[in-house]
């Protein structure tokens, strides 16, 4: 994974920065230049809400190489309290404990690294609130 690409998205990864459309109020994560709600071009950047809920989830049991050591792990589509949507892993939960609509908050975690020698990539995972 290109370290430059990861670094470029650091405000989204490390600070959970979202862009709220000044026209229609839609939340965009990651921030973008054209709102897909109203085609507006003006946004306000801010950190996303701290808590939210699970809209849907799955348990990954066959994983790509970077995540092979982590199976089984939970991945979910999450809606934060400010309507921001994102995809994230859900940590600190056993697969059988997962429930639709579960309340979560975001916590800083290691997402992956390129083996023992590569750069470590950090972002956020959801944890039960």
């Amino acid at each position: 994974m290109s370290t430059v690409r990861v670094w470029r998205e650091r405000r989204q990864r490390l600070l959970n920065e979202v862009a709220q459309c000044k026209g229609c109020g839609k939340m965009h994560y990651p921030p973008r230049q054209v709102c897909d709600g109203c085609r507006g071009r003006e946004f306000e950047t801010k950190p996303m809400a701290q808590s939210g809920k699970v809209l849907t989830y799955t348990v990954i049991r066959v994983a790509p190489p970077a995540f092979a050591q982590d199976v089984p792990y939970v991945v979910a589509v999450i809606e934060m309290d400010d309507t921001t949507r994102l995809t994230a892993q859900v940590a600190d939960v056993a697969p059988e404990e997962m429930k639709m609509g579960m309340k979560v908050r975001l916590e800083f975690r290691k997402i992956r690294s390129e083996g023992r020698t590569g750069v470590i990539v950090y972002a956020h995972k959801a944890v039960p609130a």
């Binding site: 990651p30 809209l55 989830y57 799955t58 348990v59 990954i60 066959v62 190489p65 994102l86 995809t87």
Partner: protein, 385 residues
């Protein structure tokens, strides 16, 4: 716009074709289509392929194909829309013929996936998702569709057994398809006992990793009537739509708006309704995908796609046959080839050449080819003349 017809089709077997290279797959499918059409030249060609660069480290595919096919210095174009690349190749060929720019245009789809071992293959396929905001977190393709499945189960009560029945139906069809990757029949218990890939999807809910290519020759309908060796099939309608690439941005996680829209456009152009269709080839990359797609095509009411296979509605001899070829599940899913292989099946059916798979009195068929988790969809409506 001129009326466009398909006058030739060709396809390799789909499967783990260790001995056959990417370029040989392309050549085999295209030569078959050219022979089937009985043409001696082609004006232009389109190649649909998702990830030859990652799978076999080869780009510049269209030139490679026209070179190795000996087609001369014709324009050759690679198109890509993840798993909808094949359908997009057909649509692109349609536009070139319909516009009057070219007369005989070859549309081909190909993918050579098995040179990469499992993990690396999964990573290549993940490029159809949002790399930085989905794949980044370790969600795989089965994972994305698994999340759709869970949402569908939660809202509509769809069950794992219903999903399994979809795979069972498709294998029953594929068993009768000499070109299919898997020709074994399976049972619901087989599916539910198979290893879980991403809850709730088992490995037998998932289409396989495959190699293969499929091709079609398009020309104006008027010309087809003069030169075609076999009964031409008219492309009555074409629809193409896109939606948010990432699953998480969609308002309703049980819906595939790109599919609904592309189907509406195609059917409107064809001046047909869903009830007019005699058969459909849809994009069952995972069993849940077929369930959702037939709802978007209005073949069943919303939320009721789950029971379509089990009730026999979508069986070969049902009221609304879906995936008589075996679908992606049983026929195989060389990603870029699939869209054209769907065309191959419908044309075969409309010509009355489907043998044991034949749908009686098949005159109107639909193909639906989807990219990623629903970020793009290409639909064709075909009619026998």
């Amino acid at each position: 716009m001129r009326d466009v017809a398909i006058i030739g089709i060709g396809m390799t077997r789909f499967g783990e074709l260790w001995e056959i290279s990417l370029r040989d797959l392309m050549v085999e499918a295209c030569l078959k289509a050219i022979a089937d059409a009985g043409v001696d030249h082609v004006d232009s060609m389109y190649v649909g392929c998702m990830s030859s660069g990652l799978f076999v480290e080869q780009e510049h595919l269209a030139s490679l194909a026209s070179d190795f096919l000996g087609l001369g210095p014709i324009p050759a174009t690679r198109v890509e829309s993840a798993c909808a690349s094949g359908g997009l190749a057909v649509r692109s060929a349609f536009i070139e013929v319909a516009s009057g720019l070219s007369d005989i245009v070859l549309a081909m789809g190909v993918e050579k996936m098995t040179d990469l071992a499992g993990d690396a293959c999964t990573a290549a396929l993940a490029t159809a998702a949002d790399q930085d905001y989905e794949s980044f977190h370790g969600v795989t393709f089965p994972g994305l569709y698994a999340m759709i499945a869970r949402a569908h189960m939660e809202r509509y009560g769809t069950t794992s057994e219903q999903l399994a029945a979809t795979a069972v139906k498709n294998h029953a069809n594929g068993a009768l398809n000499p070109l299919a990757q898997f020709r074994n029949r399976i049972t619901i218990a087989d599916v539910l006992d198979s290893i879980m890939v991403a809850d709730p999807l088992h490995i037998l809910d998932c289409s396989p990793v495959s190699d293969g290519a499929a091709a079609a020759i398009l020309c104006p309908l008027d010309l087809a009537k003069k030169i075609a060796k076999k009964a031409p099939v008219r492309i009555a309608g074409v629809g193409h739509a896109t939606d948010s690439l990432a699953l998480y941005r969609r308002a309703d996680l049980t819906r595939l708006p790109a599919v609904e829209r592309s189907a509406q456009i195609a059917l409107q152009m064809a001046k047909r309704k869903p009830a007019d269709l005699h058969l459909a080839e849809v994009h069952d990359c995972f069993t849940i995908a077929e369930v959702c797609v037939i709802e978007e095509l209005s073949l069943v009411p919303r939320g009721q796609g789950g029971d379509a296979a089990r009730s026999g509605l979508t069986a070969r001899d049902g009221r609304s046959p879906v995936n008589t070829s075996g679908g992606l599940k049983s026929k195989g899913h060389p990603v870029g080839a699939t869209g054209v292989a769907q065309i191959h099946e419908v044309v075969t059916q409309l010509r009355g050449e489907a043998g044991e798979r034949q749908v009686r009195n098949a005159r109107i068929g639909l193909t639906q080819n989807m990219g990623g988790s629903g970020g793009s969809s290409v639909v064709h409506v075909l009619e026998a003349i």
